[in-house]
Each structure stands twice: as structure tokens, then as C-alpha cells.
């Protein structure tokens, strides 16, 4: 365990840690990847971590997160592991190809890499670097911008494993692939999982990514995913987060879209502790579609920060961002959504909307919509609201006999429903719908969190208390 003292900066601590464990980290990887790490650690050295003076980080303070005595697993510590004994998925009728990461490492159920009959490869990124070095080198690090203020460079220096998915041309992967990211550690743990998803032309994939914690211990997940959508590829992506109050998740998701590709992303944060989700979408070629949906339900002193960038670099693309949040107690939320329209991106259609409901005077939402437009023939709009439930609607419901509490729950449920209804997988939509309803009634416990069913002994009840409005 590294010695954490007050005199040393978080950056220096991590840089030293990198140098000390360099040999283990780079062990058997292609040289190009090692070069990428060295470049990344130089960026960390030069730029440091963002602080509250950094654009897009003004309301999210990273510093306290680095002050725990973290453990780092530089080699795969996961024991032979029977997943079904720890949890089972409780989304009825949801048939997925599910893969698990335990403390950042791919869990070898059958094999580290599985090739489906249609040619799709699913498995461990560490193993993929060994078996398919050329494929990995061609893509890895090419869309992740390590110069953007944040922790993408830190992930690039430290990552060792994560999920690798390759979908060949024209293949439609029938079953959704479900990534279950579990942290189970008696000590505070910091992990840097890295995912690489490559979709060849006209392929189709549904990816469900669940972040889950099995204990109430402190953890910091600094994840990064890179997703490449070739011409006419389709991706329906879900990130579902239900973590304990003591866990922190920073996730950088980078997407690159080629001609006529479609991306639909859903970020569903039912409980998050500390969450910073960054999504960068680069629309590199014409006629792409991008939809980014988000829902966050937070209470106590949880903090959730969604930072989105849709970069229109080609003409005739469409993008939409819809993020909605309900905040109780002293919870805080940040939304910074940016639409960038470059000079060549004529005929762009881009919309952005962020709506927040605050249930207490102490809850806080910061919305920072940003438009940067260099083309002249485009349609863009943005809107942000922070408010309370509509008093006219409340009165209307009460005149029909609904008590205040029920009326509020109904309105909050409807508010969240706009995002939930966009979930395309029916069983998942129904399950999320139930979870949202339970969450708003204060009946959700850690035992029926996420899409998992775990054996936690001490159920924690998360409670948005509607009686306080």
C-alpha cells in the first residue's frame, strides 16, 4: 500500500506508483501500447489532475478522492470464481451474453476470449493485446483524448485489463452483451478498467454495462472505453450505475462514428456516491445519428456530474441529448453538455435538453449548456431547467383525490419516465421502470439494485423522501 502523506501531490503519488510498478504493468504487451503509456504519464506530469479552476471540473472536486489508502492490483488477484454464487441477474426474460469484471480484471469463466459462431470476439482486453496485437494497436488510444483535462491520461498509463469486443462486418449480435463491473474488496481499492469495442460496417450490437459494488467500502473506478462504429454500424448502449455511497466512478467514454452509423446511449444512475461520466462523441463522417439519454436519481450527499460533448465534424448528422435528474437532500448534480459544430458540418441538427427537479433547498443542480457553431446552415437548440414539481399539476391531481405524496410520486415517476421509455430492450425497460418507481417510493434497497441480485448482508435503503417538498 503506498504511503499517502500530506506533502505529496496526488499526481506525484500516482506517477511514482507508475514508475515503481512499470515492469509489472507493461509485462507482456505490444511495444506500441507501452509507448502510449509513457506518453500518457508524461501528460499527467505536465498537466496534472484537473482542479476546480479547470473548465468542466468547476463543480466536481477530484482531490478528496485520492486521499484514501488505496490498494492496487497490478496482477490478476481474482480467484477461481463461481459468478452464480455471488449474484444472478434478475431482469426477467433478459437473455444476455454476460461477462464479469472483478476489481477491474476480466473473470475467466470459460476462456479469456470467446469467439461466437458469427465471428464476434468477446473477452479480456489484456488477452486481446496478446492474441490480436495488430487489431488492438490499430484502435486503442486513437479516440481517447488524453490531453483533455481529466483522468483519461491516468487510465491510459495504468490500465491493464477490461473488456474487448469485436463485431465483424454485417454481423448482428442477437443477444445483448452485458458487462458486469464488480468491486469486492475489504480495503479501499483504485482500479483503471479499459474497454475497447470495435464494430465493423453494418454490424449491430446492444451493450449493457452495469457498475456494481458488493461492499460498502471506499473505491475509485477510473474507467475508459473506446468505441468505434464503422459505416452503418448500430450500437444501443446502456450504462447502469448502482453503487454504494462510498464508491466513486469516473468514466470516460469515447465514441467515433463513421458514415450513417447510429449510436443510442442511456446513462441510468440510480445511486452513485460520486459519479463523473464523460461522453465524447466524434461524428467523423456524414449522416450519423446520435442520441444520448440520461437519468440520475440521487440523494444524501451524492454527487453526479455528466459531461457530454458531441462533435459534429461532418455534414448532415443529427444528435440529441436528453438528461433528467431528481435530487433530494444535499445531493448535487452537474450537467455540462456541449454541441460543437465544425465549419464543414453543414445541415447539422443538434438538440440538447437538461431538466432537474430539486426536492430540497439544499440540493443543487448546475447546468452548463454550451454551443459552439462554425457552420452557417444548421439547426441547434439547447435548454436547461432547474425547478420543482409543477404546482398546477399537483393541484389538479389533488382535486381528483390523490394525496400530496402520491401526486408527487406520480409526477416524479412521469418526469423520469420520459427517459425510461426510450430504453429499447423491453425486459430491461420494465425492470428499470420498476426500479425507478421503487426508488422514488424509497423502497429500493441494495439487494435489488441494478440488474443484479447480490448477497449483501446489510441492506441499505436509499430514500428519496418526497414528504419534504
Amino acid at each position: 500500500m503506498p504511503d499517502i502523506t500530506e506533502n505529496i501531490t496526488s499526481e506525484l503519488l500516482m506517477i511514482n506508483l507508475f514508475r515503481e510498478n512499470f515492469a509489472t504493468i507493461v509485462a507482456s504487451e505490444p511495444k506500441a501500447i507501452t509507448a502510449l503509456r509513457q506518453k500518457a504519464i508524461e501528460v499527467v506530469e505536465a498537466n496534472g489532475f484537473p482542479d476546480t479552476h479547470t473548465e468542466n471540473w468547476r463543480f466536481t472536486n477530484l482531490d478528496p478522492l485520492f486521499h484514501a489508502p488505496y490498494r492496487f492490483d497490478f496482477s490478476n488477484q481474482s480467484r477461481p470464481f463461481d459468478i452464480d454464487k455471488i449474484f444472478s441477474c434478475d431482469v426477467y426474460d433478459l437473455d444476455t451474453f454476460s461477462i464479469t469484471l472483478l476489481n477491474g480484471w476480466y473473470v475467466y469463466q470459460n476462456a479469456p476470449l470467446t469467439t461466437l459462431s458469427n465471428g464476434t470476439i468477446i473477452g479480456s482486453l489484456a488477452k486481446a493485446m496478446e492474441v490480436y496485437p495488430e487489431l488492438v494497436e490499430k484502435y486503442l488510444g486513437t479516440t481517447a483524448n488524453i490531453h483533455q483535462p481529466g483522468l483519461a491520461a491516468l487510465n491510459t498509463a495504468f490500465f491493464q485489463d477490461g473488456v474487448f469486443i469485436y463485431v465483424p462486418e454485417g454481423v448482428e449480435v442477437e443477444k445483448p452483451i452485458q458487462i458486469i463491473n464488480i468491486i469486492d474488496s475489504a480495503e479501499p481499492l483504485m482500479i483503471h478498467p479499459r474497454h475497447l469495442v470495435i464494430q465493423e460496417p453494418a454490424s449491430k450490437l446492444t451493450l449493457v454495462h452495469c457498475d456494481h459494488s458488493l461492499t460498502h467500502n471506499v473505491s475509485l473506478t477510473n474507467g475508459l472505453s473506446e468505441t468505434f462504429l464503422a459505416k452503418e454500424a448500430n450500437l444501443d448502449f446502456y450504462k447502469i450505475q448502482n453503487k454504494g455511497h462510498n464508491s466513486a466512478v469516473i468514466h470516460n467514454a469515447f465514441f467515433k462514428q463513421k458514415k450513417q452509423s447510429n449510436l443510442i446511449s442511456h446513462a441510468l444512475i440510480l445511486n452513485g456516491g460520486f459519479t463523473k461520466n464523460i461522453i465524447n462523441v466524434e461524428l467523423e463522417e456524414p449522416q450519423c445519428n446520435t442520441v444520448l439519454n440520461g437519468l440520475y436519481l440521487v440523494d444524501s450527499n451524492q454527487h453526479v456530474d455528466n459531461q457530454l460533448l458531441v462533435d459534429h465534424a461532418a455534414p448532415n448528422c443529427q444528435s440529441e441529448q436528453l438528461y433528467k435528474g431528481i435530487l433530494d437532500d444535499e445531493a448535487t448534480a452537474v450537467f455540462s453538455g456541449k454541441i460543437m459544430v465544425r465549419r464543414e458540418a453543414q445541415k447539422t441538427l443538434a438538440y440538447q435538453n437538461n431538466k432537474n427537479i430539486l426536492l430540497t433547498d439544499e440540493a443543487k443542480a448546475n447546468a452548463q449548456p454550451q454551443l459552439e457553431i462554425y457552420a452557417d446552415d444548421v439547426k441547434c437548440s439547447h435548454g436547461a431547467t432547474v425547478g420543482q414539481l409543477d404546482p398546477a399539476a399537483m393541484f389538479y391531481l389533488r382535486t381528483r383525490g390523490l394525496c400530496e405524496r402520491t401526486a408527487r410520486q406520480l409526477l416524479m415517476y412521469a418526469f423520469a419516465g420520459e427517459v425510461v421509455q426510450r430504453i429499447a430492450i423491453a425486459p430491461l425497460r420494465e425492470r428499470i421502470d420498476q426500479l425507478v418507481e421503487k426508488r422514488l417510493k424509497g423502497e429500493l434497497s441494495i439487494c435489488d439494485q441494478c440488474v443484479l441480485h447480490c448477497n449483501t448482508k446489510e441492506p441499505t435503503v436509499f430514500n428519496i423522501d418526497v414528504s419534504k417538498l
Partner: protein, 254 residues
Amino acid sequence: MLSIKNLSVSIYGKPILKNFNLEVNAGEVHAIMGPNGTGKSTLASVIAGRDMFDIDEGQITYMGKDLLAMEPEIRAREGIFLGFQYPVEIPGVSMANFLRTAINERRKYHDLDPLSGAEFLKLMEERKKLVEIHSKLTNRSVNEGFSGGEKKKNEIFQMAMLEPKLAILDETDSGLDIDALKVVANGVNKLRKPENATIVITHYQRLLEHIIPDFVHVLFDGRIVKSGGKDLALDLEEKGYEWIRKEAGIEEPM
């Protein structure tokens, strides 16, 4: 059934109802008429329990109980229904879910078992027929994207579902074409029972050709200045409101 005595109501210190009095008995239909801005809608809102108004003086007794002490939902469960002048759109809340919740909360209040899904659907079909609503309004979100006429029909449908003792219809005729007006009026007439009462708030005599009132009251400057039978509405239609203003000695507004 309803007894309003010396009621004075203001908003932000501006008086709206001034020493207002009204008695409504079971089986009666009262029409409250008057020009814009005389306090008609305020009266409806105060009876239903909207809390944006200040009650400066007076009492409202409903079925022997102090109405002003009750929360809006308690008034509703005790049988008061307000048909809104501007029904509120509530995206994401389905009509069926909303009405079933409303009916079951009311039943719980009266110590009755909740309606099952099947019972509820049956009731809904029956009441749709009664008020002649054939559209699929009930599959949609509450009032969302409804036309003006659909919204008003939907108010009458809700009334049919909730079976109030005292229904207050606030300008239910405004913005309706003649066919929609007939649907609304037929609904109200079919739901009339000797043990129930209705207060119809309206601007024009038109609706009162279809819903025949027992009493017509003219509201001016926050109080009733003239009451009469159904013929009073015809007089108003013919002569306008000006003669009442003069008769009551009220100054013209500046």
C-alpha cells in the same frame, strides 16, 4: 349541502370575493354568471382548495363540515369535483393509471376495497359510454396534446368516473363547438341525481339551454348582485350585463 357565508377572499392583498353568500341544496343546479374578472373562477378554486388565495373572512360549510379546514384531496374524497377551465397537461401520467389511483385512494378513504384491474376497466368502459366518449383518450397521458374540446370532454369523463356529490364546472363551455357542447351537457344531465348538486360557472347563456339551472346568480365585483330563475339567463343574453351594473350601482371599471 354547501353553505358559503360572508366569504371574503384576496390574492396578494387584492380583494376578489367580497362578502359572498351562496346556499346550494341537494338536487339543485346553480348557474353563476358574470363578466370576466368578477371572481367566478376564484370561487371555484377556493371551493376546491387551491392555496394561492387568502381567505380573509367567512365560512364554507359542506355536508355539515368546515370545508376550508380540509386539504384539496379530502374535499375530493368527500365528493367535491372541480371541472377545470384550463385542464392541466400531465405528460407521462396515463389517464388509466391516474384515474385508478384516484378512485382507489377515494375508496380507501371510505374504507372500501380497491377496484381490481378488471373492475376498473369495466367501469371505465361503462362511463365512457354514458358520457359518449368514443375516442381513445384513456390510453393517453392526462390531457397531453388534447384539443380544447377533448380536454373538456375529459373533465366530464373524470366526473363520471369519480361520481361527485357536488360538481363545479368552471367555464366548461368556453372554446367548445356546438357538438362538443352537447356532449358535455348530455354528460352533466345524465349524471344528475336528486342527491347531487351542480354549480355551473359560465359566461354565456348558451350552455344553460342544455343544462337547465334552477337558479341563476349574477356575480359582479366579487359578490352576487342578482339572483333569479332560469329566465334571468335569457334576460342577460338579450340585454347584456350593463343594466345589472347600473341596477346594482356599481361603478364602471377604470
